[in-house]
Structures are given as structure tokens and as C-alpha cells.
Amino acid sequence: MNVRLYVWQRATAALMVPLVAVHVAIIFYATRQDLSAADILARTRGSIVWGAYYGLFVAAVSIHAAIGVRNVLAEWSPLSERHAGRLGLLFGLVLAALGARAVLAVVL
């Protein structure tokens, strides 16, 4: 890993700390209040705030996890750093696409 990947990985990690904390809090809140999925969706549908929130999360996690997967592959698989990097990138793109789709499904 070099300094550029490092900065991106750590920056997205730092960004995700509050994002994940809020997300987890929401889940706890939801289960406590016994909100149904319908209730939740009712609140998220059409909300720009939630759209932006989860959009940001998906962007961050895609970058973060792509770099993470790259690192693990480089160390734990026989792949070279370069190939691990390509696979990581691919993974990141797939994750971003799937994530975007899910966000759209939740928000729209």
C-alpha cells in the first residue's frame, strides 16, 4: 500500500465512524420501537437527507472496502500487488453499483 491508498482508506474509515454509529443507532431504535419495515420505508421514501446519508455511506464503504480487499489479497493470496489492486477495484465498483441500487430502492 502507498500513501495515497492509505489516506483514502483511513479517511473513509474515519468518515464511516459516525455514519455507522448512526446507522446502528437507527437499527437499535427501530427494533426497540418495533417499527415495521413499512414504517421505515415510509420515512425514507422521498427523503433527500436519507438519500444523501446512505449515498455517502455507500461511496465511502466502496472505496474503503476496495482498498481493504486489495490489501488482504496482496498479503493472503498469491496475487501480486497489481493484480490484487485490479481485483479490489472491481470489487469496489460492484459494491458501489449494488449499494447505489439499494439506496435508490430505499429512497425512491
Binding site: M1, N2, V3, R4, Y6, V7, E75, E81
Partner: protein
């Protein structure tokens, strides 16, 4: 299983620390006054520390030594147990009295040269300063060559990759003055001096390098000792080589490859903290990168 493991590990560590604390540092004033009164006869009568540690010391050790190169096997020898005996002495005994072809490396025998490190009961250690009582309570020792380095023969490794990485990390001082200049005045308590001093006493023994799994997994990784040295130099206000050094430690295999396993810090015989040094490098390089001073 896992949780149980974690708990016992912590307990052991705590108990061990408590018992060490009790032995070496009771309240200071008490020490002072008490010792002033104790006469020599009493001191002489007190047993050496080793005997305290080992109530029923076995008279013989069962010692398995790695024989061969990368391929090889452990062979077991019986070595008499002594009061004053380091792991290096055990190895020496086998070479002098049992198998004259046993290969190992040492020089200073007092923890200064860093050439005697081996894997002792699974952990990398300096052998000349490791008392047998500390590691062979059960009377068994398994000694192998240091991990993460090519094996030359038996217990001796080739340390060349380790030093090569030290060089790659720009671990040599880059002068900003010459012998014709006066020696710079630097106050001993200035923050820069303290930072440069923090980890300067490394003896390049390779113990941290052997303990680090990132070194094992990532052939390009410079490793804790080389990075620790680079950080020491970055804090050295007399040095003029920081541009190249930051570049070197920010490249692939540099400080960012470290995952903060902290095994280096756990095992360093001089209690240095390479993890903290590497963290410093990460901060410094990230900052330089963000300011556009570094090209990855």
C-alpha cells in the same frame, strides 16, 4: 473458545506483571530506609532472583534445536541445568559438549550487538540476555532460527534482507554540516531531541522483524526496525535527508503497509516502540501527501 483464550491471556499477563512489580519496586521510601538498616549478612543470605523464580529447578533441560536449513528437523538434547544460564549458554553447551557442528551466531554476549536472536519456545528473543528460568519453567526448550529471514544453517539466519531494507528506508544519517563546523547546540530537553532519542537505542537484532506478520505476508514491507530508524532520523533536526526519506517510507512496502499488529513492540528486547514510530511516519507522510509534497 476464543473468549476463554483472551481472558486467560490477560490474566496471565496481569498476574505476571503484579508479581514482577512486587519483586522489583515496592514503595520508594520504604526501600530507602529499610535498605539503610539491612546489613550485608542479610543480603548475602538472600537467594538470587533465579532461585526465587524456580522453587524446584529441574537438574536437566530437554532442548530441541532446529538442525538444517529451510528443510530440517528439531533434534532433542539433554543439557544440565545451571543457576546462571542463558539460552545462549544452553546452545553453547550443545555445541561444545554434544554436537560440535551446531551453528549459531553471537558476539557480545551482553545484549549489545543484536546478533544472537533466535526463536525460543516459539517467540523471537535475544538469547544472551534471556535467562533459562524465564522461559523454561517446564524444563523444556525449543530453539529455532529467527523467523522471516532465510536460514543459513541450524540457528543462524541471513540478516542481509533486514539490513537491505534498513538502507532502503534511508536509515543512514544525511549530514547538513561537516567536520569543519562546530557541533550544533541542542538542548537535551527540547522536544525534537526527546523525539529523536525515543527509539535511537535499537541494536538491529531483528526480533521485531521476526515477530511481525506483515513482514511475513508482504515481501516488500520494510519492517518495524527500518521504519523505526527512519522515524528517529526524521526527528533529528541535524539531518538533511528527509525529502528522500519520506518518499522512501511512503512508497509501496513502506510505513502504510503496517497494520499495527504491535508484535514488534511486544517483543523488542529494549522495550522500544516501533508501532509508535511507524504511526508517526504515517501521520507525517499523509500530511506531506495532502500538502502535495509527496508523489506516491
Amino acid at each position: 473458545m476464543l473468549l476463554w483464550r483472551i481472558r486467560t491471556l490477560n490474566w496471565n499477563a496481569c498476574l505476571w506483571q503484579l508479581s514482577m512489580d512486587a519483586r522489583v519496586k515496592p514503595a520508594h521510601d520504604e526501600w530507602n530506609s529499610a535498605w539503610a538498616r539491612v546489613d550485608c549478612a542479610q543480603i548475602a543470605a538472600s537467594k538470587p532472583l533465579t532461585e526465587n523464580r524456580m522453587p524446584e529447578a529441574p537438574t536437566e533441560l530437554s532442548v530441541s534445536l532446529w538442525r538444517g536449513g529451510v528443510e530440517g528437523r528439531y533434534e532433542t538434547y539433554r543439557v544440565p541445568r545451571r543457576d546462571s544460564q542463558t539460552v545462549l549458554d544452553v546452545v553453547t553447551y550443545v555445541q561444545r559438549h554434544i554436537d560440535p557442528t551446531l551453528s549459531y551466531r553471537f558476539a557480545c554476549r551482553v545484549g549489545m550487538c543484536g546478533s544472537c536472536a533466535m526463536t525460543v519456545n516459539g517467540r523471537p528473543r535475544w538469547t544472551c540476555r534471556t535467562h533459562v528460568a524465564k522461559v523454561a519453567g517446564s524444563g523444556r526448550l525449543e530453539i529455532g532460527p529467527l523467523a522471516n529471514l532465510p536460514v543459513i544453517k541450524d540457528l543462524a539466519t541471513d540478516m542481509a534482507p533486514f539490513f537491505e531494507k534498513w538502507r532502503e528506508a534511508k536509515g543512514a544519517f544525511a549530514p547538513s554540516r561537516t567536520r569543519a563546523d562546530a557541533i550544533p547546540r541542542i538542548r537535551p530537553d527540547s522536544p525534537a531531541r526527546l523525539a529523536a532519542d525515543a527509539a535511537v537505542e535499537c541494536i538491529n537484532c531483528g526480533v521485531c522483524y521476526a515477530a511481525c506478520d506483515t513482514v511475513r505476508w508482504n515481501a516488500a514491507y520494510l519492517g518495524p526496525a527500518a521504519l523505526n530508524r527512519a522515524w528517529t532520523l526524521i526527528n533529528d533536526e541535524r539531518d538533511a535527508g528527509n525529502v528522500a526519506r519520506l518518499q522512501a517510507v511512503a512508497a509501496t512496502g513502506g510505513c502504510h503497509a503496517c497494520h499495527s499488529h504491535q508484535s514488534c513492540q511486544e517483543h523488542c528486547p529494549l522495550s522500544l516502540n516501533p508501532t509508535a514510530s511507524i504511526a508517526g511516519l504515517k501521520r507525517r507522510t499523509a500530511l506531506a501527501y495532502l500538502k502535495g509534497e509527496l508523489k506516491p
